[in-house]
Subunit: 724 residues, 2 copies
Amino acid sequence: MPDIGKLLWPQSVAVVGASSDVQGLRGRILQTILSHPFAGRVYPVSRSATEVQGLKAYPSVDILPEPADFAILIIPARYVPTELEHCGRAGIKAAMILSSGFAEEGEAGALMQDEISIIARRYDMAVSGPNSEGFANIPAAFCPTFSPALDKNAGPIKPARALGAGHVSVISQSGGLGFAVFDRARPRNLAFRHIVTTGNEAALEAFDFVDYMLDEGMTDVFLLLLEEVKSPEKFKRVAEKALRVGKPIIVGKIGRSEPGARAVASHTAALAGSEASYRAVFDRYGLIEAKELDDMIDFAVGFLACGNRMPAGKRIGICTASGGAGVWMADACAAAGLEVPVLDDATRKSIDVHIPSYGTSQNPVDCTAQGVHKLGYATFAHLVAQSPLIDGIVVVVTARRSAFLEIDLPKLENLQHDTRKPIYMWTYTLPSDRSVEILNAAGYPLFTSAFGCARTVRAMSDYRASQERTSSKPLAACRAHPAYEKVHAALKASVTVLSEYHARSLLDAYGIDGNVGTLAGSAAEAEVAASIIGRPVALKVQSIDILHKTEVGAVALNVAPEDTRAAYERVLESANRFVPTADIQGVLVQPMAPAGREVIVGVSRDECWGPLLMLGLGGVMVEAVRDVVLAPVPLDHEAALALIHRLKGSAVFGRYRGMPPADTGALADLMVKLSQFAFDHADDVTEVDLNPVIVHAKGDGITVVDALIVKRTVQRAGHRTAAE
Amino acid sequence: MPDIGKLLWPQSVAVVGASSDVQGLRGRILQTILSHPFAGRVYPVSRSATEVQGLKAYPSVDILPEPADFAILIIPARYVPTELEHCGRAGIKAAMILSSGFAEEGEAGALMQDEISIIARRYDMAVSGPNSEGFANIPAAFCPTFSPALDKNAGPIKPARALGAGHVSVISQSGGLGFAVFDRARPRNLAFRHIVTTGNEAALEAFDFVDYMLDEGMTDVFLLLLEEVKSPEKFKRVAEKALRVGKPIIVGKIGRSEPGARAVASHTAALAGSEASYRAVFDRYGLIEAKELDDMIDFAVGFLACGNRMPAGKRIGICTASGGAGVWMADACAAAGLEVPVLDDATRKSIDVHIPSYGTSQNPVDCTAQGVHKLGYATFAHLVAQSPLIDGIVVVVTARRSAFLEIDLPKLENLQHDTRKPIYMWTYTLPSDRSVEILNAAGYPLFTSAFGCARTVRAMSDYRASQERTSSKPLAACRAHPAYEKVHAALKASVTVLSEYHARSLLDAYGIDGNVGTLAGSAAEAEVAASIIGRPVALKVQSIDILHKTEVGAVALNVAPEDTRAAYERVLESANRFVPTADIQGVLVQPMAPAGREVIVGVSRDECWGPLLMLGLGGVMVEAVRDVVLAPVPLDHEAALALIHRLKGSAVFGRYRGMPPADTGALADLMVKLSQFAFDHADDVTEVDLNPVIVHAKGDGITVVDALIVKRTVQRAGHRTAAE
């Protein structure tokens, strides 16, 4: 691994292509570097000028007074490979390429980008870009970027008084958005460490930087703007590492929508991948997805201020002096999936003595203006925090005037020691600078968006749960099933689409036996099988040439055992009539499944993430609603149960319309086994479809009504390019 | 109707309860009034002081130098009725009660609140409050409120240079939130006219103020914060009036969630009503719901800047210099339900000549920094606006620096004349004040939230559609169906829950005949009916004492005509065994319905809004997902079709899983007829349930499988109180 330290913390820097024209990017970048108090040495490299912006310029990187630690290349794309080669030969161990015109431009550009990665490997250089907007190392005051957010007149790069003791780093594949997050965070007094934009990632990827910064140990919250994950295995390793050390990664996923994904493909030559797949993987690895830029900042504010006291659950107490604003916050909490329970009697009694009768202690606690005026916010927040029903507190304030907060400040400061529960503040008016200062100094996160505040609480509660879930066990079990070799060989030997009977026999090896049935080769065999079952059966012609069995009359349902012989002849005849050339393996005889909840359980292969387990509510009408959840494989029983409960219609598994509760344990068991199957045979299987699966009442298990496996035939190497 | 003009535009004002102590609310309100250049005369009224804040004070409202136009009451609740009576007798025609402690406090308070409304009527006074935070009339600089947002040092109340020529008024049942919206809008340069908080609405309601302001004709956009609608008929009249004159009403509904609604109930003694009902009514009357405070302001910015050029559809073109930011905006557009289509070839060609090959003209149009640097944003926006595929344009800018916008300004100004399509701007960095000024002056709405910008475009597109839909016809047809009298009499005479056969006979009178069937009184009659049908039938015992027929074996399905006699005896016997006392009307004989899409069509009565038509996808599994839509009644065919398409799973009605398209025309027809039924019998019917209804293939109509009507028995007068 090349040394990213040389890139982010150089003692000496060559700016190749630097210019004195500060209207252009080649001048702006040098101007920006020089406008901050960076302590390192800066060497402009220019073919034409001997002096650039008052500094002596050098014609080439190999005749600098010293081999620079780090070279910045801002020259036309076609010169980049040669110049990078020069850097390598001159002993420069880190480089950043700002130039555009590589993979995002088509085939010729993609070839040049490949050259960059080869040169980087050859010289073991830490190479960032191309097509990046640079970075900023805030503690070093080193800002090699042309982003207007780092203009000297855009304001100081460190807050006069930071919120909390921690630091935030931004890593973004998009230059504009990466620095925008930094810029937008300014009024919130966050202390930043690094803002890195990675561009096309010819060599170094976003998660290489996360990895470096985890080792550096000085970043407490990561804000990532991702268009794609280039190396899924690296992602998994680094994301798990971050989760285990408790450094939250907040992700803004760029290109979630169809037009967005289309644009990403054209813009950085990346395949954005399915939004649902990304969400499933983010969820597994505890990454926190933020939908809006300002949410990313809100989340960072929450983690920096309350990272040492994350909410233990989702139950929120709200204190407010404005009834309407309290309700607004309750609505925001509910929208974020938080609970706002009515407080317990003891807590209510302790509050009731302090508020007029037109207030209420139920929750939201309407302390009334009069109550707050008398006692301050801190007293009420303290009382609410005592409730055993509450995991976190939101205090609704009006921070337009600071005078009142000023008076309350000593109590607010004490409150942080009196409770270990997190306390968040939302102001419905715009806060004065002084109010922000006071509350930040006392360690409180202050939000101007009620919904942003609520989403922050939810994100922190979820993150705590992810951490707890992960702390004791690895995220992916890696041992193959004992039946692996046998099934692997069978898969290798089979045709592309496996018939139901064939698919079932492979799944059976993994303990998925929900209705294997008997393959009958004659009417007599079918009759015997049915009489052993002793109740109505289903008959299904098995042939790899007949995928839609029902449509050609190759299925008979609800056949009484005594009618089996006739039904056997009927389905075979129908199959032969419709598909005369079909190679028929036999007729599958299965007991008819008793009623229950219909679900679909499957595996589908994501281009980037590999196999994902899929669970959806089933039935003709439901599929139009698309109530489907995904998870990476393998999955343990607990995760399978959690996934079942993430279905929007998961109420169907409880006591529902006269039915007793469903056997979700058996469903989870099926999911665990199928996920192991998918994990073991990831390279060989594109799709598994158990559709429908009937989930019976608790204790009665499940029935797999139909099964299908599609083998993987196309082995893709690397990524699609925009041209595909 | 009392004269609200006296309240909002008084020449003389009595402040009853005024104090010199500016720490308290009684001092603050007078201080705030005096701190703005209000031209009217202000008379403090005080029992104890002869001078208040430098003004001569009077002991009572009836010895003022003149009968004041308007009295502000800020005295303990128990004195309010008497004092209001004094005002009435003194000839004061308008009053505002800021005091708390009325309906929100319990029964005694509610009685006092009733007194207020009686006194207001007796003297024909315009009375606002109680429990309000006051109001501000910005053009009159009259600010009778203690909100910190109107503090002198909170900043000017009018922007130096306003966005557009129009004005915004805020009307809020919550004091805190109403002024918060005004406060938050300050950085956006909106010109406000009125900010009115209405409190408990003992007399004047939010929509009285909207009505007044519509007549006043100086408000172009209304921002409403509503906890409840007290008078649904007034709402409907005023909302329709606003829609017809094209003055958008943007609503923040307070108490959307369960904990929020619970808090509203305790806080203003209001029943918040079902969120879904409110949404259905808002939708019908073209009100625009905003989920977050900042969305309300974004929407107002959009309407003020582009209200004369609303997007004709949902197809958006995006121009950007930052690839990532363009994708982010595309994601935001998709999330708001907008389309971002690939541009047509002619438009693309006209753009391609101006951008480097690493940009793209597909949409989002990545003009690249280089392209924008050369030509400016306006040129690209102009080119995109020429596309016939595009209804509106979003330009993604970085407004941190204004220099570049300054250069582009003449072109930006021209652009507004060159196209009638609306152009929105989103800046991903924080805008400088000068940037805001430049863009506002050129008439562009500038957003800092990508998602807020996209939601604004969507809101304006929806509003335009609402207006077009409404322009030619009244929103509710009011003539009763010819069968009204007959059905009304039958309903009056019937028991509470009507049996299927009885319910069907009433619905049949409205042309809802989707499977009436024959009521057989004997096995022989049943056999005849079945043989006429000539295919399998359903038999259902009809009795008002047996509501759950299936569970007591009182239903037989798929009965062959020749088996009818036996089945008849079986269901009757079973019914008699389980419910020996049942009064049995007969056995309904109906043809079995062929397969199709299952839906539920019903009517339910909302406490506030009366009957609402309900449509949901049906079937056991679907109900857990709750894919349900509502609409006020009556409904025309077009609105019924639109409602069908609002189902999340509406794809089920198209070509779906091998089925031909469904007969949505017949379903819409059923909905129209049922909505007329519900409208006509609103006072007598609590619930109608057609469940399931089978929608067959196009041309084959629908089958109503079961029907139920529940009569309305409890007539509620007025609103629940918190105590209930």
